[in-house]
């Protein structure tokens, strides 16, 4: 079956078509809305902004398999913001649900019960809790089987839906419900954020990218590029979260931009393992600019400035860009 890792004549890369139309500016973003307003997502939700652009790029002929998280609340009976089908799964098993749907579609097409033009793209939608922690094993399995699906992780760096607890995506020194800064750990979260991009990359999927709600042109072009490849296509969107990050609702886009401009969030893609950075700031802003506007890092500045923690964060960012020889 096409979706099940059959190696095709092209040597397994699964390239469908080389001609990619890229959009050049914000004016080129497709106008049709595939996520309608009126959802219960928080005002100023960064993840929703990212999803809105992803869905513009994907179109309506898709099925969403949603792992439990904030976005399962988008579709609460009897309401849905989507024009396409949507399936809800538990946190750990969205890729397994995607496998079932992909197989069913393939079988229906093979038996002639579904017109190949009516085929649907299978899209897994998950938060960072599921992507970084709970569904790592089922995701790893699906990538390994070369399942033909899209995987979008809206990463707000904590378990936001349950009131902001620590997740594998929570960065060092962030304050969450389960990592409060105190006498023993004045910096808050002790561990560094997992590198999900590298974890996925080690499975050698055909397409892998990080995206940002503040860079919709880059986001949409990445989806257009990914479209050519058969197999797992993975996207991580850093999604500023007003209640979780302690920011004003109007700051979402500013924060997403700052994350890129300070080098905290590297916008990149890897096509069959070839890594390329798509947006590299000409001059990196100091990470402090990104940290000091967020409530979850306020304890690093007040009442006592935690120099060691701040240095560690900046050094982590410098180390990353030095490794990729892009720090000028």
């Amino acid at each position: 079956m096409a979706g099940n890792g059959a190696i095709e004549g092209d040597g397994g890369k699964g390239v469908k078509d080389m001609g990619v139309e890229r959009i050049k500016s914000i004016k080129g973003i497709p106008p049709e809305e595939n996520v309608l307003p009126g959802t219960p997502a928080c005002a100023g939700c960064g993840g929703l902004l990212a999803l809105r652009h992803c869905m513009k790029a994907l179109g309506q002929k898709i099925v969403i398999v949603n792992a439990a998280g904030c976005f399962t609340l988008l579709t609460i009976y009897p309401y849905t913001p989507f024009k396409n089908s949507w399936l809800y799964t538990a946190m750990a098993c969205a890729p397994a649900g995607a496998q079932g749907i992909r197989d069913a579609l393939d079988i229906l097409i093979k038996k002639g019960r579904l017109d190949p033009d009516e085929d649907l793209k299978v899209v897994v939608l998950t938060g960072d809790g599921a992507a970084y922690d709970m569904s790592l094993s089922s995701t790893s399995g699906a990538i390994n089987r070369n399942l033909d699906f899209y995987y979008i992780c809206y990463d707000n760096e904590a378990y936001g839906n349950t009131g902001v607890q620590w997740s594998g995506a929570t960065p060092f020194a962030s304050k969450t419900g389960t990592t409060p800064p105190g006498m023993i750990r004045p910096m808050g979260a002790e561990l560094v954020k997992k590198d999900l991009f590298a974890i996925w990359g080690s499975h050698k999927p055909p397409y892998l990218a990080t995206i940002s709600p503040a860079h919709p042109v880059d986001l949409i072009n990445k989806f257009k590029k990914a479209e050519q490849y058969n197999g797992p296509k993975l996207f991580i969107a850093l999604s500023p979260c007003p209640p979780g990050w302690g920011i004003d609702t109007s700051y979402t886009v500013k924060l997403a931009k700052l994350a890129v401009d300070t080098g905290v969030w590297a916008l990149k893609e890897a096509v069959s393992g070839d890594l390329k950075h798509t947006v590299v700031p000409k001059r990196f802003k100091p990470v402090e600019e990104y940290l000091q506007v967020q409530g979850r890092f306020a304890h690093l500045f007040k009442p006592v400035r935690q120099e060691a923690a701040l240095n560690k964060i900046q050094e982590g960012v410098n180390e990353y860009w030095n490794r990729h020889k892009l720090l000028l």
């Binding site: 914000i26 004016k27 996520v35 009126g38 928080c42 902004l49 609702t249 109007s250």
Partner: protein
């Protein structure tokens, strides 16, 4: 026992208001309970929190269906059919509304039979704290209505806020604002006519077992969330001044909810039925096309 229910919007501070009241009551020597209504605690979405205060140990648990006092921290909630802040308010109970209306006007506009006290807490918040976060202010008002002491309120605000914020100046501003609100109202006396009993006959409805295609929550409609009308979440609304608009489409690309539409001439406009008032568009607009107006004021102009 006094049962107080706070209604506000996520981010306004209903949860902290209930905690300030509960803590102040405890410091005054009463038994107290305070808790938010868990659910979707979303920024801007209607939320509720409750406080019980009693001279005896409190054995009641769970949400308060029949409050003695209701604090409405956001006026627009009064017209929200899903929230109904005044539901279950006991006859003779007190409702405090955060509004610019006088009590008589509020009674008439919202057809309220209970006793009404009004105070423009949002204005006090903006003036004294510089932001529309009303937690300690609503707590201060509630403490006065219930009849707690000023000292306990002060200590309660200190205690509760020092667990949340590290900014000493902001904390002092909050104490001052809470005390200001405490003294800004003339409390009414609660005149409960009914006997205080919550014991009602329980009614058990037995549901028949249905096959999955009937009993499972499948939605066969597409794209119907706009019916929910999340426009009532707003505290501020984006306001347009088209003289400066260059039709750059940046606001359209920045709206998380897709609430900025484009008209035939290529000019963007806001879908006020569903705009949640996050104001990203106002911050992102490269010209002076977009500004913000407080929702209650905008309503008065446009009706």
């Amino acid at each position: 026992m006094y049962r107080v229910r706070f209604h506000g919007r996520g981010g306004q501070g209903a949860r902290v208001a209930s905690k300030v009241l509960g803590t102040a009551a405890f410091l005054d020597g009463y038994y107290a309970q305070d808790f938010p209504l868990y659910g979707a605690e979303r920024r801007g979405a209607p939320v509720a929190a409750s406080t019980r205060i009693s001279e005896d140990p409190i054995m009641e648990r769970g949400v308060i269906p029949e409050p003695d006092i209701v604090i409405v921290m956001d006026e627009t909630l009064l017209q929200d059919p899903l929230t109904m802040p005044l539901s279950g308010l006991k006859p003779g109970g007190i409702v405090l509304i955060n509004t610019t209306h006088s009590p008589a006007e509020a009674k008439a506009v919202y057809k309220i039979t209970a006793q009404v006290i009004t105070l423009d807490i949002t204005k006090i918040g903006l003036d004294m704290l510089g932001m529309p976060i009303l937690s300690t202010l609503a707590g201060g008002v509630a403490a006065r209505i219930v009849g707690l002491s000023e000292d306990s309120l002060k200590a309660a605000v200190e205690k509760v806020l020092s667990e949340i914020i590290t900014d000493r100046k902001l904390l002092d501003k909050n104490v001052a604002a809470a005390l200001y609100c405490f003294n800004a109202i003339t409390p009414a006396k609660i005149e409960l006519k009914t006997i205080d009993t919550n014991k009602k006959k329980s009614t058990v409805i037995s549901l028949p077992f249905e096959p999955a295609e009937i009993s499972s929550p499948a939605i066969n409609a597409t794209g119907n969330t706009p019916l929910r009308m999340t426009g009532n979440w707003r505290v501020f609304r984006p306001a347009w001044n088209y003289e400066a608009c260059t039709r750059c489409m940046i606001c359209v690309a920045r709206c998380p909810d897709g609430c900025i539409l484009v008209n035939e001439d290529g000019y963007p406009y806001t879908d006020y039925d569903n705009c949640k008032g996050c104001l990203i568009c106002v911050g992102e607009c490269p010209t002076n096309t977009l500004g913000k107006v407080m929702e209650v004021h905008a309503k008065k102009v446009t009706g």
